[in-house]
Symmetry: C2
Subunit: 416 residues, 2 copies
């Protein structure tokens, strides 16, 4: 018999009515002839409230206690989901992460899954139970409750699918799947039928927050296929999987855009070991997240180091960098906000040469100035003016033929 | 070193600020030279909300899932309390009921404590931790989370105090202790320094809801002394303990009043086996709680059966009893609402004769009519008109010298 793991996020179990909808789908999936394991997040808003309470009683809550506190959100939603299934005539049981056999290391708040012992789940499935597992959590070898960090429920679902050798792992969300570009930017953006793990990872890093990177990395490591699909519609979504040779036929899988970026350039930096470290350890110590880092080739032993951050953090970054700039003997610090990062992702780039050139030419023709460039094997990322961002995404989408990947109702609409 | 168990109810941990107050007290108790175990209830309102959610997804939630759901309330408050202690420079750790070693039978929603293995608590106390235990819950032998029913956190505290052989068990509430009478009724009501378990049990059954009977029964069974005291003030409360010979010197320990009662009398009942059962099984099947039951001595093989219920349930009771009355061949059913039950409790009654007579005489002198009488070894309960209730309580309080038990600021104020 088929074994299906379904994951439902916080919005999908956000209130009693939605929990009942999830319960209906679980029963329906079982009736279609599958053994069903559900993984649920905490009800939308619950985790945030618990975090708020924790910070109201303590400026820096102990990680162990915070884990115990946060885990209650998923305990509650899993019990409620099981109740709802039972109320509809189904047969369900809820399990905590520990009961589901999810063993982690002892890193509270960001534990890594060490092992999964799915014996109990298998037994319950054999007894025709729909097994509802509290996502986002596990238990350390010492029996302590741990949580897996942001996106942890996705990770729970993918790891369980792997351990149970499931036939399908479905991640239900409020989007229909992964798109060639954000449909709000490009009206004829297409839903992808499939995507390689690496492409999804690069797109996640590029602002397409369908899935957290950790869950995708886990899936990649263990070769666990999963489908991102809508919890509101009964249509198939996007399957993330290992790349196949045919995937390389598509040069670019998707285009993504991250707005509200700021660019910082430290100029006249001596080309010596330790200089970059001095800059970035200072920035990291202030918990400012650095995205792209680009260093130009040195001229006369002097170079420029540029990097991007979210523009809301620009003022803080300037303040902490000003003293460093003089310390390391750099000439000056230039900053600019109102930037955007355009990323073009596709494993097809590996075998198709000239993708970068084609991209630069396409944007250049339209007078869009490129301020920074950073490339990986399957991604080209550019920093451009935010005012050009939407047009750049649309042009790129057309240039690489993404709209024509698959027929869609919206494909006939003009760009806009 | 002294070992103290302190229990805090839902109001005491009702918000972040109150949790911090509890944390302060725990640290203070430890600094005074004690090992401290705290037992906490769910934050006020949380359990009710969870029950509401459960009923929104299911008309009759599975008991197992409901237990898992409800237990999260105490998980959260115990973790928050531990965080608050740590934030104030203390050293605390929270434990679930299972982690605290509380083993129960497998009766979900109303589990009985089977055994307590306090090994882990002892270890943590030796390491100078303040141990915060989630009240109201345990674990069955099969590893399932169970809850102990209403008042379960009191039971957790008392059972832990017993298992840990604690030097003190303090139940913190929003009242100062157990009083000779409700101070809202009798202005010179006195806080009792001590009370026998049996007296507290009778007073709990008589409407003085300081503690749930189950917790008191448990304390009595295992001889565990506990103190009911205020979480708002630093004054000693009332110690519940096994009776001592000197306790019998006080004839009446307390007077309590339950308002809004209704009296039902089935008249002309044949004095045959099974007749009372027919009446009360019918009432019980409708989940109507019957309090006093009085049957008069039969005359010519015919008797009256009277009983009391809450007056809000009178209409329902009438409807279901009317057919029974004719079935059992009784002559008629008389009902009256607007009644009150006055209870006079004291183990001294055992050795002091004439208490009932003295009570009846006192009320009779003031023209208060007694409609039903029921007595136990240490309690006399009377049904009277609700209009007479307050006056009757005051008169009884004076008659048995309760106001003069101990000096108090309010003792000089006049009655009424």
């Amino acid at each position: 018999m088929r074994l299906v793991v379904q994951k439902y996020g916080g919005t999908s179990v956000g209130d009693a009515e939605r929990i009942q909808k999830v319960a209906e789908r679980l029963i329906e999936t079982q009736r279609e002839g599958a053994r069903v394991v559900a993984v649920v997040s905490a009800m939308a808003g619950v985790t945030d409230n618990l975090v708020k309470l924790a910070h109201a009683v303590s400026p820096s809550p102990s990680a162990r206690e915070l884990d115990l506190l946060l885990a209650t959100g998923e305990h509650a939603s899993s019990a409620l989901t099981a109740m709802a299934v039972n109320a509809l005539g189904g047969k369900a049981i809820s399990l905590t992460g520990a009961e589901a056999g999810i063993l982690t290391d002892d890193t509270h708040l960001k534990a890594r899954i060490a092992n999964i012992s799915p014996r109990q789940i298998h037994e319950l499935l054999s007894d025709d139970y729909i097994v509802v597992v509290a996502g986002f959590q596990g238990q350390s070898a010492e029996g302590e409750t741990t949580t897996l960090g942001r996106g942890g429920s996705d990770l729970t679902a993918i790891a369980l699918a792997g351990a149970l050798n499931a036939d399908a792992c479905q991640i239900f969300t409020d989007v229909d799947g992964v798109f060639t570009c954000d449909p709000r930017l490009v009206t004829d953006a297409q839903k992808l039928d499939e995507i390689a793990y690496d492409e999804l990872l690069e797109m996640a890093g590029a602002g397409s927050k369908v899935m957290q990177s950790r869950a995708v990395e886990f899936a990649k490591k263990f070769g666990i296929e999963f489908e991102v699909r809508s919890s509101l519609k009964s249509v198939s979504g996007t399957v993330a999987k290992e790349e196949t040779p045919s995937m390389e036929d598509v040069v670019v899988r998707g285009v993504s855009l991250e707005r509200r970026q700021a660019k910082l350039t430290v100029s006249g930096v001596r080309d010596q070991p330790g200089i970059a470290a001095a800059i970035f350890s200072t920035v990291a110590a202030s918990h400012i997240v650095v995205d792209m880092i680009v260093q130009s080739a040195p001229t006369d032993g002097v170079t420029d180091i540029s990097f991007t951050i979210h523009q809301d953090e620009l003022e803080d970054a300037r303040k902490i960098l000003m003293p460093i700039v003089s310390q390391i003997g750099a000439s000056h610090l230039r900053t600019a906000s109102g930037m955007a990062k355009l990323s073009v992702v596709g494993i097809g780039m590996r075998s198709h040469s000239g993708v970068a050139a084609r991209l630069f030419e396409c944007l250049g023709r339209s007078g869009i100035n490129i301020q920074l460039i950073s490339t990986s094997e399957i991604k080209i990322a550019l920093v451009i003016d935010e005012n050009d961002a939407e047009r750049a995404a649309q042009l790129t989408h057309v240039e690489f033929g993404l709209a024509s990947l698959a027929p869609a109702a919206s494909a006939t609409r003009p760009l806009g």
